[in-house]
Symmetry: D2
Subunit: 384 residues, 4 copies
C-alpha cells in the first residue's frame, strides 16, 4: 500500500479536473468535489459552474479556479481546455439530467474524459448515441452510481460472483426517502424544483432520481439484469408532474424474481437504500445507512457480520478501505472510491468496477420500461 | 385492573376448552394451549387430538384430559360435548387447512363456539358457506391471525384510525422465512409435508401459510383492503408443488399502493413479518421479531419509539400488556391476547379486535386472487 | 420431546402450588403465576395472598383458590397444608424482602418445598440460617433469579464452561432502569414504596432490587465469583433512603476484572440488563431486552448471531425453547423455564441450573459488601 | 452558507500546512491529511515526515511536497518555514507521544500554529510547560481529540449546556477495542509496537491511547470534570508493559458519578466509543460506530432519534454537516470538522469547540491519576 488513499495508484500525479454545473446552490457538485479531493488524486482547475455568468465567476473564485478557466459556456470550456497544454484530464458533469448529454458529447469530442451524474441522459435514444460517441472518442466515461463505491457493496458483488450464495432466487431492493412528502416544488427549493420537472428530469421522477440507483445497485451486486418488469408509478402529492413512489416487480432470465420499491413520500425514511439477495445457499443483506456492515447468512448456519476492514474482507473491499473497522466510513468515502477508480482508469487504463456508459443506458431503459409499464396500468414490459 | 391477566374480565370463570388436532408432533397445538393457559381463562377438558386412536389417547393423557373426553372423531366429540352439562364452551381447531371446515361446521351446528387456525378453509366457497353457518349458529367464531394480538400492532391500528398518519399512501408488508430453502418435504418433517401439499394446504403454499398473515396484518392495521392485486408466485425448490415465494403489488380504493413479499426460501430470515405504513402526515413501522417497539415518524419531526407499556400507549395496547416496558413480551403473549379476547367475547359478548369469519373469507379471496393472477402471468386481478 | 412444554418431564403430574403474597396490587405475584402456568406443570391451590384478610379472600376468589385454602397467615397455611393429604407440593414466596425468611422457614420446617423471590433475605445472617434450615429440611429451595432462565443466558454459560472464550478477562454487566428518576415513593405507588424502604428492602435499594440480578447473572454465565469489590452507591433523588444508582468494580480470583452498573435513575432505560464477557479467545454479549440473540465474537473472526432455537444451540438452550427462532420468547418464558426446572427438581430430583439458597447467600454478601464499601467511601472490600 | 465545506469561512484562503511524522507506515498521518483536505481549506506544502532521511524524501514525493520543503529534522523545518514568506501557517504533529512536546515547542517558538495529536505530551509536567509556551507564543494550539468533531457529539454538548437533561447525575462512557487481544507487539506491527512501549507512549497504554478520548469526550459533552477517580489498570497479555484494559470510577463536584471503561482486549469490539449521560430530566446516548444518531429520552416520554442533518439539529450540529440525513458521515468527516474549525481559528480568531492545550493537560492529569490510583491498588485519587 502506498502512503495515501484507498488504493495503490501506480502514479501520484494529480489529475486536472473540470466541472460543469455545481455552482452555488448545488448539492451534488460539492459532493463530487469532496470525493475528488479525498484521496488527493484530482485538482479542480476549471469550471463552467453556472449558466449565470456572475454566479459562474463567484463560484469559481470560491473554488480557487483561475479567472481564465471560469467559463460560462461548456462548449467554450471544452474547446479552450482541449487547446491548453495543461488542460483538464477529465470533466465532471453535475447538472440536471437534461444537461448531461450535450456537455458529455462536447468534452468527449474534444478528447476529454467524462464523469457524469445519473441518470445519464434524458432518454435512451440519447444514451445510445452517447455510447457511440464514447466509443468513437476512445476516452473514459464514468457514471456516478456512487453506491457501487461502498466497500461492502463490492464485497457482496464479489461473494456472489464467487458463488457464496449459489444460484440467485430472490432480489429485494428498496430506496425510500421522505423529503417530498409534501409539496416542496414551485418555490425556492432548487433541488425539488428540477427533480420534479419533466423538462429537466425526463420521464421519471422518483424512479429516475433514486429508483435507478436501486436498480443499478441490485444489478451490480447480483451480476443479473431483469428481462421484464411490472411497474406502478404514482404521484401522490397533488399537482406533482412526476412519480414520487415506484413499486416494481422484476423477472430475471435465470428464473430469479425481484421487487424494487423507491419512494420520496415515506416519512421517517432518510436515504434508505437497502439490498437483500437470496440464493440457494445463503442470503446477503446490506443497507446504505449502515454501510460498514454486511450480513451474510449461509442457510442453516449462524448469520455473521462482515465488517468493512474486518475479517473475511476480499481484496476488492480492502482496496476501498482507508481506516480500520469501527471507524465508520460513509457516503463521501464511497463516492471517493469511484473517483479514485476513475483516476486509475485514466492514468493506467485500469479495469475497475466503475459504472460506465452501458450501465447508463441500462438505467434509461429501466426508466422507460417502468414508465411505459405504468402507463399501461402496470403491465409486464420487457426491458429493451 | 384485576389481579390477573391482560384485561379486565367481568368474570373469572374459566372457559371449558376442547381441541381438534394438536396431538403429539403438532407445533401449533401446543402454542394454542399455552396461549389459552397464559391468562388462566381456559381449561382444556376435551379433545380429538388425532385421528390415530392410540395417539389421540396418549396425547390426551399427557394433557390431563379425562379418558371419556378423549375422542378420535370430531363429530362424535361435537355431539357428546354438546350433550354434557359440563360440555366445552369453545373448541380450538388446529388441524391442517383441509380439516378446518368440517370440524368448524360440526361444532357450530352443535352450538359450540369455535376458534380456528388460518387460513380458514381450503377455498372461498367453503369460507362463504362457513359464514352462513356461523350466522345461523349465533355462536362466536375466531380466526387466529395471532399477529393482530400484539399490543404494538393494535396501537398502530388505533393510531391510524385516529388519523395520526393522515390519509394512507403506501403499505409495505413482508414476511420472509428460510426454513424451506431446501427440500424438507417428502420425509419425516410433518410440518413441511402438509404445508407443501395442495391436498392439505389448498391452492397456496407460502402465500397461504404466511402470506395471509402479512395480508391480514396490513389490513388490520391500516383499516384498508386492496381491491386488486398483481401476484407472482414461484416454487423455487425443485419438485415443490406449491409456491415458496410470493411477490405481490396491491391497489387500494383510496389510491394507496402496496407491496407484499412472503418467502420461505430467504436464508437468514426466521419469521420476519414486518409492516411499514406511510401516510400524508407520518410513517409507522413494526416488526414481529422485535415486537415491543413501534417506530413513529411524523414528517419533519424526530422519529420516536413507542414501547409496549411505555409512554403514549393507547388503552387498546395497555389492555394487552402484562408486564412493564423492557420486560419483553413475545409471540405467546400476543397469541394469548387473542385467547383472552375470545373469553371476553364468549362470556360477555364483548366487542373485540379478534379476526372473524369475514376476515377468513378475505384471506381465501386473497389466496385465490393471487394464485389466479400468477397463473395468468401476474396480471392485475380483482379481489372478489 | 413430549407433547407439551419446554422440557422432557418424566411425569406430567401437575404440582400443587401455594403462594405467600401476590394479592391484588402485586406485580411479581402475577408473574410467578403465569410462569407456573405456562408449561402446565403447576396448579395454584392455596395462598396467603395478603395479610389483609379481606384482600386475601377476594384475591383468592379471583384466583380460583378454594375458600378453605385462602389463608391470612402463612404459618397457619404451612401447618394446614402440611396436614392435608392433597397439601401443596411447593410454595412461592413473593412478598417484600423482609417477609422472605420467616415464611421460607415455616414452609421448609413443615416439609414443603420453597420458591423464593430475590434478594433471598434481609441480610446475610438470615441467609446463612436459611441454608441450615434448607439442609435440615431436605426440601428443595429455589431462588427466582429469573434471568438465568433465558435460553441464551444458559447457552452463554455453557459455551464459557466448554472453553469457547478461553480464560475470562473482563466482565461488564449493567442493569439500568429509569422508573425512580423522580420521587415515586411516599404516595400510592406500592412498588416504589417498599423498594425504597430499608425496613422492607434491607440495606440495599437499587443494588438489592436489580444489582443482585446483574451480579447473579454475571456469576451464572461466567462461572466466576468476585473476591472483592469497590462500590459507590448513591441516592440521587432527594430524601430517598436507599441507593438508586450503584457503580461497582470487581476483582476475580483468576485475575479477571469486572464492572457492574445498576441504576433506577437513567432516563430512557426500561429494563436494560446486559452482560458482556471477554476472554482470551472470544467475546460474548447478551441483552435482556433483546433476549433471543447472543453475539459471539471469536477474536479475528466475523461476529455471529446465535439465535434461540437456531443453529448451534446447545441442548441446555434447546431445552428451554418452546417455539421456533424468529417467534420471540420473552421475560415470561424465561421465568417459566425456572418453574419447569423446579418441577423437575421436585418430581425427579433433577439437577438443574435453578439458583439456590447458596446463590441467595452470595447475593446478600454482595449487597452487604457493596453497602460497606460505599459507606467507607468506596474502598475495596472482600466479599465474605 | 458558502459553496463548499461544512462551515461559513470568512475567507476561502487555503492555509499552508506542514506535517511532522506521518510518513509511510503511519496510520494517523493519512487521517490528518484527508481531514485537512476534505473541506479544501489546507494545502500540505512541507513536512518532516520521518526521521529516516530516505523515507522522509520518498514520503514527501508521494505527497507532492516540494523537495526543498521535505525536511528530516523538525527543528530545521520550523526555522526554515518561519523564515519563508510563503512559510506554513500551521503544522500537524502526528508522531508518537514522546515526540509531541519538542516539535510543538519548536514550532510555537518559531511563531507557527500547532495541531497536535493526543495525548498531548508524555506527562503533565511537559503539558504545563507547553501551556506556558502556547501562551507566550500567542499562537493557536489545537489537540485532535477528533471525536468532539462529530456533529451529534456537539449537539449533545449544546443540549446539555442548554439544560435539556437538567442536572447531570450519571456519566457512563466506554471505549472497547479488540486489536491487542493477543500479543501484537515485538514484531512488524508498528502501531502495536509504539503504543505498548512506555518510552514512546508514556505511563499509560490503553488508558492513554483511547481512555483519554473517552475521558475527553465525556467532559466535552457534559461540561463537567471529575475531581477524583478510582482506577484499575490491567495488562492482560503476558509480557505487555502497559495496561490494555482500564476500569475507572469517577466523582464529579456536582455530585454526579461516572464510570469509564476502555479496553483493547475485548473481542468483537472494533472502536466502540460510547457515551451515555443521565440527568434529572432526560438521558442522552451516542455511539461513535453509529455516529449520525443521538438518542434523546426525556423522562416519561417516548425516546426520539436526533439524526445528523435532521429535525431539531442545533446550529452547532448543522455547521459540521455536509450532506443530508441518511447519507452517512463518518470518522473522517468528524475529523475534518476539527480541521475546518482550526482554519477558522487561524484565519479569523474564531471561537471554536476544538480541544486546546488545557484539555491536553487534563488528559495527562487523568492518565497520571489513573496510573497512580491503580498502582496503589485502585484507591480514590484526586485529579490534579
Amino acid at each position: 500500500m502506498t502512503i495515501e488513499g484507498n488504493s495503490s495508484p501506480i502514479s501520484n500525479r494529480r489529475l486536472r479536473l473540470g466541472m460543469v454545473g455545481g455552482g452555488q446552490g448545488s448539492f451534488i457538485g460539492a459532493v463530487h468535489r469532496i470525493a475528488a479531493r479525498l484521496d488527493d488524486r484530482f485538482e479542480l482547475v476549471a469550471g463552467a459552474l453556472s449558466s449565470d455568468a456572475a454566479r459562474a465567476k463567484s463560484s469559481a473564485v470560491e473554488l480557487h479556479i483561475a479567472e481564465d478557466r471560469a467559463y460560462t459556456d461548456f462548449r467554450e470550456m471544452a474547446k479552450m481546455e482541449a487547446a491548453r497544454e495543461d488542460g483538464i484530464d477529465v470533466v465532471s458533469i453535475v447538472t440536471p439530467n437534461n444537461m448531461h448529454f450535450e456537455p458529455a458529447k462536447a468534452f468527449l469530442e474534444a478528447g476529454i474524459n467524462v464523469i457524469c451524474d445519473k441518470p445519464m441522459t434524458l432518454n435512451s435514444d440519447e444514451a445510445r448515441e452517447l455510447i457511440s460517441i464514447v466509443e468513437q472518442s476512445g476516452k473514459k466515461f464514468a457514471l456516478t452510481h456512487n453506491y457501487t463505491g461502498y466497500p461492502m457493496a463490492r464485497q457482496a458483488r464479489q461473494m456472489i460472483a464467487e458463488g457464496a450464495l449459489g444460484k440467485i432466487r430472490v432480489v429485494q431492493v428498496e430506496y425510500p426517502q421522505d423529503w417530498l412528502t409534501t409539496k416542496q416544488e414551485g418555490g425556492d427549493n432548487k433541488q425539488a424544483n428540477w427533480r420534479t420537472d419533466p423538462k429537466q428530469s425526463g420521464a421519471g421522477g422518483c424512479i429516475g432520481d433514486i429508483g435507478t440507483h436501486a436498480y443499478n445497485l441490485a444489478n451490480f451486486v447480483t451480476g443479473l439484469k431483469p428481462t421484464e418488469i411490472c411497474a406502478e408509478l404514482t404521484a401522490f402529492v397533488e399537482g406533482r408532474l412526476l412519480d414520487d413512489n415506484a413499486q416494481i416487480m422484476m423477472r430475471y432470465e435465470n428464473g430469479a424474481r425481484g421487487m424494487l420499491w423507491s419512494s420520496q413520500v415515506a416519512p421517517g425514511n432518510e436515504n434508505g437504500l437497502r439490498l437483500r439477495v437470496y440464493g440457494e445457499k445463503a442470503g446477503l443483506e446490506w443497507s446504505q445507512e449502515d454501510p460498514n456492515y454486511l450480513l451474510f447468512s449461509p442457510f442453516g448456519e449462524q448469520p455473521r457480520h462482515i465488517t468493512r476492514g474486518g475479517a473475511g474482507n476480499l481484496p476488492i473491499a480492502e482496496a476501498g478501505t482507508r481506516i480500520p473497522p469501527g471507524h465508520p466510513e460513509g457516503y463521501l468515502e464511497g463516492f471517493a472510491n469511484i473517483y479514485s477508480d476513475i483516476a486509475d482508469m485514466i492514468i493506467s487504463d485500469a479495469d475497475t468496477l466503475v459504472p460506465n456508459v452501458h450501465d447508463g443506458l441500462d438505467g434509461l431503459k429501466f426508466i422507460e420500461a417502468a414508465v411505459s409499464s405504468s402507463q399501461q396500468g402496470a403491465l409486464w414490459t420487457p426491458i429493451d
